[in-house]
Symmetry: C2
């Protein structure tokens, strides 16, 4: 398929941002475990603030410099600590979301300003003589070492170490030491908690900026005393309170002398501690700052100060080095399960580790908060939670940090009442989760790409399903999970209708799917498939709970008014769900009308016009076939068992060239889908975009915060894509395909109590248990039982596993019978027909053959007459084949079949003929054929690869390990499109890997050699 492949490559090139096209060096040196900045360049300051962020799921500090100068956007965030402000609409309507919600940029405790003599520490002045900033992914420590010559000549070395504790949620700590290494000058350190920060304002880009009035966050209390300082802040509308407190240890190298003088002060700007030392040469002055952030979300407002003091006391008892030790231990535990090792590309290795580290830093652990689109690293998307958490991030946590996964899902359980209220406001039953939110209320100001994305309900249910299935932890179901699944399923049953004009199918109309370049459509395929799975899950779960925990189930059912009739309705709605398809193209339709739109003019769209949403009115975008998110492709990744390989291939081939690169969520899904289909280069390219999206600032907006979902997507690409993990039918299966550039890929999955390690090389996949007793998986469809101490090694090198035969002209010469039958019909109705025309009928269905003959004669017939003619030809043909015997086998085929059977190689027949069974019986080879694909089950005939892919699927073999044998061009094309090895019988069969003129040449050994030896040249029919 050179054309299609070309299209895809073009598509990919189009969507790659300019930075990736150029040979720009990465900003951070490649390093397996560290992100390092070796020179200070203000041009990258905003970007570095994001990259060097630290967090623990509760508290997030942007990677600002300690000193005042040189920062772009200070950021200090407490997960879930937000303010609301009314949404202004130019034209309002009933039921619109009422309030913006904004994650607040709170009092900034990071500030530490050194002054050397009269010179404030400011890298824009004086001379930087040495510089390094480093984020260590194994210790979680952000370290900066600077040797700086102040304008007045003194030289200091500054070493600052910062961490946000992964074990003490409210604690951050900074150890700051300045050493005078040249000259003499008094040193002064001012350590502050600064309240003069606020959220970024709204900009032209709709993706950043907050709609908040000035006084959204007021500082109501300031206190400074000794080394202690604290500020209390309160929000205006949400009535939340927060304390930011600090205590300090001061150190110097001459404790015997008068030592450092300290003083503290509270002002309008916050609180500050000043430490001064009349330092001679070699003097060292340092502070260790212990910061605590506690909020009224966790504590009584009156107790905030006490809680902060307690937390700081605990931290101070450990000391900075103690905190570092705990941090290192915590991260060691994290990496022991969550690390993914890539051998063969250190830059990717670094990118992936950075991504996983960032996810670990940003995800809420308290069951009250979730994972914001930008983590806790910036203010993009106002700090909102989206479906990103459930669909993109959850798999990583489910399989490597299940307790965090549970906490993230508990957040949804905790906001169920708000989802119920929203459904009621929308005059619907059940619960409708908000498209974007922090506190649980819908905060999307644009309903066509907000509330209309009802699929959020199914996304959440799907995530709960995956969690329970992978962890075996059913307690979540009893802890709100089941109620969430039921109430959200309820909405589907109420939202949809059985529509007579759609053959009575259950339809979900006027929705928006994940693809935000379409809006307000009927029967979005992703939504309907996910809703169907959701309804079935809910019905199944109701049955299970009623059986397993009848009393509890009854209490829940009574409380939410759930009856057996309603559960039956869910099943009925799910069973009747409309799944839009296009029979002509053989693909799933993105929605009822998508395929009736004009295709976007990609050729006429310059790169500068991407992302489209910033350059075209929504009406223009919505009117075209163009995608922000490839949502049919996403559905086939999430619900892989509901698509045949042929469907997946056709869907991907159709939708991928329509996908812009305008969403950071897309490439990981494109990578997974491409990997499954054997589009190795494409899978790798898409993975490249997602793996280092933030480190390389692929989208140019890292300064607004990391792309948390894309980070998780890089894990998804590795594990679901190259690892080929699938989990949508309650069992783990793998179909690994390692990129050829890599030597090894290794990851670990927590599956219930077991820890499964998967190691992939180009030659083999090794499954072994690092913990637990036994795990059952499938490897390319074959069940495997992995037991403790018994690694399972599976060969991945291509080998002859299956041979798929065309019938006519390969196994027997029914081609001649067909020719004679057509000839008889043609002469009877006075149509020209000869062997040349007959060549065009090879591998083509009966009806299509008739069309070719009619078209060749310039004749048209109505459908009824065509059916009659085709039947007549078939009758003639059947007369001819009634006399077929084993003697009609083509030369060598009988031996070949017997040899394959003896070797244990599988066999199939892939013929478009409807008379295969009769012929096979006549030939006497029925016992030697494992599968005959029924052409009636196919959506598309050759040259579509469907029939070959179906044979391989039925036999459970990898397409790489199949040989197809064909005598027709369309057949060879189909085999190659199925990514199999093609053997051609005859002449002029371009694309075949090996062409023979006589079937006798095809021996078991020759076929085997196609895998072990260098491939014989295609064409020319050279005998071996």
């Amino acid at each position: 398929m050179p054309v299609a492949a070309g299209t895809r490559l073009l598509a990919l090139r189009r969507t790659l941002p300019p930075t990736m096209m150029s040979d720009q060096r990465p900003l951070y040196p490649v390093d397996a475990w560290r992100i390092r900045e070796l020179t200070f360049d203000p041009a990258y300051a905003a970007r570095n603030e994001t990259i060097f962020s630290l967090g623990n799921g509760h508290l997030g500090l942007r990677g600002n410099l300690d000193e005042e100068p040189g920062n772009v956007a200070h950021g200090t965030y407490v997960n879930g600590f937000f303010e609301e402000a009314p949404i202004e609409y130019g034209e309002v309507a009933y039921g619109y979301a009422k309030n913006h919600q904004v994650l607040l940029n709170v009092a900034d405790g990071k500030r530490i300003q050194l002054t050397v003599g009269d010179d404030p520490f400011d890298l824009a002045t004086g001379t930087v003589e040495a510089y390094e900033r480093s984020l260590d992914l194994r210790t979680g420590l952000l370290t900066r070492s600077v040797r700086w010559r102040a304008p007045h000549g003194a030289v200091v070395e500054v070493v600052s170490r910062r961490l946000v504790s992964l074990t003490l949620p409210s604690i951050a700590a900074i150890d700051f030491v300045a050493t005078l290494v040249e000259g003499t000058a008094p040193l002064r350190i001012v350590s502050a908690i600064n309240t003069r920060v606020r959220n970024q304002e709204v900009s032209e880009d709709p993706r950043v900026g907050a709609h908040l009035p000035e006084d959204s966050l007021r500082t109501i209390h300031r206190e400074a005393s000794g080394t202690w300082g604290a500020v209390v802040q309160r929000t205006r509308t949400t009535r939340l309170a927060l304390i930011a407190a600090a205590d300090h240890d001061v150190s110097g190298n001459e404790p015997g002398r008068a030592g450092a003088r300290t003083s503290s002060i509270a002002t309008q700007d916050g609180v500050a501690l000043t430490v001064e030392s009349d330092a001679p040469h070699g003097a060292r002055l340092g502070v260790t700052k212990y910061l605590a952030y506690c909020t009224s979300l966790d504590h009584q407002e009156e107790a905030l100060e006490a809680r902060a003091k307690e937390a700081i006391r605990e931290a101070r008892t450990l000391g900075f080095d103690g905190l570092v030790e705990e941090q290192r231990a915590e991260l060691a535990s994290f990496w022991s399960v969550s690390d993914v090792e890539i051998e063969g590309d250190r830059a990717l290795q670094q990118g992936v580790r950075f991504n996983l580290f960032s996810l670990f830093q940003s995800a809420g652990r308290d069951g009250r908060t979730s994972l914001a689109a930008k983590g806790l690293t910036g203010e993009g998307y106002e700090g909102h939670y989206f479906w990103d958490t459930e669909i993109f991030a959850l798999p990583f946590f489910v399989y490597t940090q299940p307790s965090i996964a549970r906490a993230l899902l508990r957040y949804r359980c905790g906001t169920l009442d708000k989802a119920r209220a929203r459904a009621a406001e929308m005059t619907q039953r059940g619960a409708l989760y908000p498209w974007r939110t922090i506190g649980g209320d819908e905060a999307s100001a644009y309903f066509p790409a907000g509330t209309a994305q009802y699929h959020i309900n199914a996304d959440i249910a799907h995530a709960i399903g995956i969690y329970v299935s992978a962890t075996g932890d059913r307690s979540l179901l009893h802890d709100g999970g089941a109620e969430v699944i039921f109430e959200t399923a309820r909405l589907w049953a109420d939202l949809g209708d059985f529509i007579p004009a759609q053959d009575g199918a259950f339809c979900l109309n006027e929705v928006t799917g994940p693809d935000e370049y379409s809006a307000l459509v009927n029967n979005n395929c992703y939504t309907n498939l996910m809703a169907r799975a959701h309804l079935h899950l809910a019905a199944r779960l109701a049955g299970e709970l009623a059986a397993d925990a009848p009393a509890e189930y009854q209490r829940l059912a009574t409380r939410i008014g759930l009856t057996a009739g309603e559960v039956a309705d869910w099943r009925r709605a799910g069973d009747g769900m409309r799944v839009p398809r296009d029979p002509g193209l053989g693909i799933h339709a993105q929605d009822d009308s998508f395929l009736s739109l004009a295709r976007w003019d990609f050729a006429g769209t310059p790169a500068s016009m991407y992302p489209l949403l910033l350059h075209y009115h929504p009406l223009v975008i919505y009117r075209h076939q163009v995608l922000k998110q490839p949502d049919v492709v996403l559905a086939q990744v999430l619900l892989g068992t509901q698509f045949s390989m042929a469907e997946k291939k056709r869907n991907f081939d159709y939708y991928d060239p329509l996908t812009t690169g305008d969403s950071s969520l897309s490439p990981c899904i494109q990578s997974v889908a491409a990997a499954e289909l054997g589009y190795a280069d494409l899978a790798y390219s898409y993975f490249m975009r997602t793996a280092r999206m933030d480190l390389d600032d692929v989208n140019g907006n890292v300064s607004h915060g990391v792309h948390a979902a894309a980070m998780a997507g890089s894990w998804v690409s590795l594990v679901y894509g190259f690892g080929g993990l699938r989990d949508d039918d309650g069992r783990l299966s793998f179909a690994p395909r390692l990129p050829s550039a890599w030597r090894r890929l290794r990851f670990r999955l927590q599956v219930g109590d077991a820890l499964l390690q998967v190691t992939l090389t180009g030659r083999a996949a090794t499954y072994e248990l690092l913990a637990g007793n036994v795990v059952e998986i499938r490897h390319f469809g074959q069940p495997l039982r992995i037991s403790a101490g018994q690694p399972a090694v599976q060969d991945l090198e291509p080998r002859l596993e299956c041979v798929i035969f065309d019938l006519d002209g390969v196994i027997t010469d029914t081609a001649e019978h067909h020719f004679r039958a057509w000839q008889r019909l043609a002469s009877e109705i006075s149509l020209p027909f000869d062997r040349e025309l007959n060549e065009r009928l090879k591998g083509v269905s009966r009806m299509e053959s008739l069309e070719i003959i009619l078209e060749n004669a310039g004749r048209t017939e109505n459908l009824q007459d065509k059916v009659r003619l085709a039947e007549r030809k078939n009758a003639y043909f059947r007369e001819l084949i009634a006399g077929v015997t084993p003697a009609d086998l083509l030369p060598g085929i009988g031996d070949l079949l017997a040899g394959l059977r003896a070797r244990g190689t599988k066999t199939a027949i892939a013929s478009m003929s409807h008379n295969v069974w009769d012929v096979v019986r006549g030939l006497g080879i029925e016992p030697l054929i494992d599968v005959i694909v029924d052409p009636a089950t196919l959506v598309k005939g050759k040259p579509d690869p469907e029939i070959f892919l179906a044979a391989a699927e039925r036999l459970g073999v990898r397409f790489e390990n199949c040989v197809g044998i064909e005598d027709a061009r369309a057949g060879v094309e189909a085999i190659k499109a199925a990514r199999m090895v093609a053997v051609g019988v005859g002449r002029d069969l371009p694309g075949a890997d090996w062409v023979v003129t006589n079937t006798r040449s095809i021996t078991v050994e020759a076929l085997d050699a196609l895998f072990t030896a260098p491939r014989p040249m295609a064409g020319r029919g050279a005998a071996r």
Copy 2:
């Protein structure tokens, strides 16, 4: 069709507002030419402010009281004088409309405060002893007479007269006289121009309130001197300036005495003149106030004061009585053409006159302004212009005040550049007019029901087309009209695409039609039909101009880059335009997906939940089949020649019950469509809603301003509805149907130079020329040439004009042949069949008959086999009928046909049989039959009325004048659904007007008597 009719009535009842359901008395006494208020009730103050508004298309004054107390919302508007303010979006996107536009409430010159002693004139105090306010539609004068006893006992009579000059656009005048009729007290009159007014603020109801900052309109100059006073105001963003000036004549009854003292002052509140008199008993004190409003839209800002002075000088020279005289003359001229006389319902007469008067007051005449949705009477919809002007109001002006129509269309020509810029912003070619605007820029803050309503382009082109065709004034085309039509056509060609998946049809996707309860759909039927007409109009016009004015055309073409190829593209796009239809229902589909939505649950929607838009989220509304505007029905009213009567009927029957009463624009269109279809009661009910919509405050929001489009709609209902005017194929045609409650309806139409008067009674339509020489029209399809002095009187009483025969069982007994043919087939394939089953086949198509027989036997067959079986039956049948001769005519039918031919009565055969011609030839009656309807041309068979309506249309006769003769139930049902007289042959034919058992009873005389005598009882087959 009793069921359908019941549904419609229910629908109507549902949508009638509570006020109409109750027997509430009208607020204003019924009076042919006046609107009078006889008691002062503060509860109605806001409503009266709208009703008693005065205007002249340039200046509008709400009907506020002269005195300060008792007013709700002061309003003074200058057409086109507006301010902009940025639209705030919760989430903004590329290409969104940038600014709100708001018609400004400017300095208020109406204020005149009387004080009697220490008592300010305030009807809430003291005692009102007599009261009347009256708006005289013939003089345009608003007069108020009050006799008021002040709290301190003195009694004054106050007479205030107000007008806004229809001849001097910038002038308004108030004559205010107070006479002391009891007691003694000093009188004081303060006449002011008050600048402390501003627009109403935004409210919960999205339809009212302006988004304007405080200082949008600043008063930059105030001046008071002698009896003169003026203020100058300037807008902040649009940089427009306005002067409001007044001069006064003071009068008293004792001019000999010291007389009234006058003083003037300028303050922050504006300017004021005080007139005082130490009045003894009987004293009279009066001021005549001449007000002028001039703006920088018409004059240099420096010249504003001079212009105001000049205008006032001119008015003062005429004096108040002179102004009254001019006003009366101007209105006499207006009414001489524009009046519509209704005899038989004085309340409706009053309502309609009030409506026409209001339209005349509100429509801009300067070519720079248009007609706002609320006229110049209130602030609803921010004073915006919509499509209302072109589609609803234009016909009234085109046919009665063509110079105003021209000015309204010139407004669109003048804003073409802004429409071009908008198209460019939307990345489209040509011009895209704004959905709502004042200054010409898009001001809709909700694009799904704003910019997406692309049909505005076609609406404007349609209006220009109607104007040129009716007036013959082609100068408008040269004066910008042609350029508008071309540039707007261009947009369609660029917006649409030939879509392969839609059989290559030209599709307009992602649009919103007039029905705002659907949004962002593909191929909205109204839009596509109007765009098709637009493209064809543009192509035709280009050809005409190129032929008629080649040089000028070439200049225009060069300027806008128009080529012959592009014009050909327009034609191709128009020809290929997709018109969505549902073949099963036989209706036009509102859009591609409308019929695949669930129907709204009307039964479950209480009256309090209307209008739906205030109680349901748009997603809920959009998801259902429910209409705000019946836009398919609107299309069939505007483009009547593109629909068959049967289509119109089926469309109306389908869509009318889905139409809520939530738009004030709907009832007039529903009335016109119902009238055409003979749904007399329904037409009348819908007209009732529109005729007195504002006088009766049907929608409860008159206080926000009048409903200008609905007012024009009442004229449309009368002239297009009951008058049956159609004008969409360049010729006037009439199909009048007078409501039975009325004695007479008379209206006049300006057609080129001619003035055509149409007078309708129950018995006749009279067409006569009041001016001009000759006009060619059609009356129920028949061409009529109306010449000066020669009125044409057309009989309207039902009379026998046409007889439409079923064939089988009416003309001949092929029914028996059919029976035998079916019997033969049935026995051959072993299906039960008898005469009872045969009865069910009468009047039913061959294929449907087969279905019935199969279904009866519980058998199913595939399509191919069914076709074969039906053909077999037909072959048997044809064998049987091959031997038909004249002897096979049923008794009396030969004589009947001959008699009808002799009488000049038309005849048709309406049979679903495909063998009619063979039978008719065999019977030898071919020369006696005028029309045989080919069943192959039909969308729906009997009992749908299509075949009967098609026969009547082909013959150009009114359905009321047709008799249908049938022997089958389905046939009788079809005749009655076609609103014809039904004669049944046989037994048990419910619904037939006359049933005979023997065809011999059907004579010419008997049929004639069906129209002249009281109808014979239906049923029982009673011979006459």
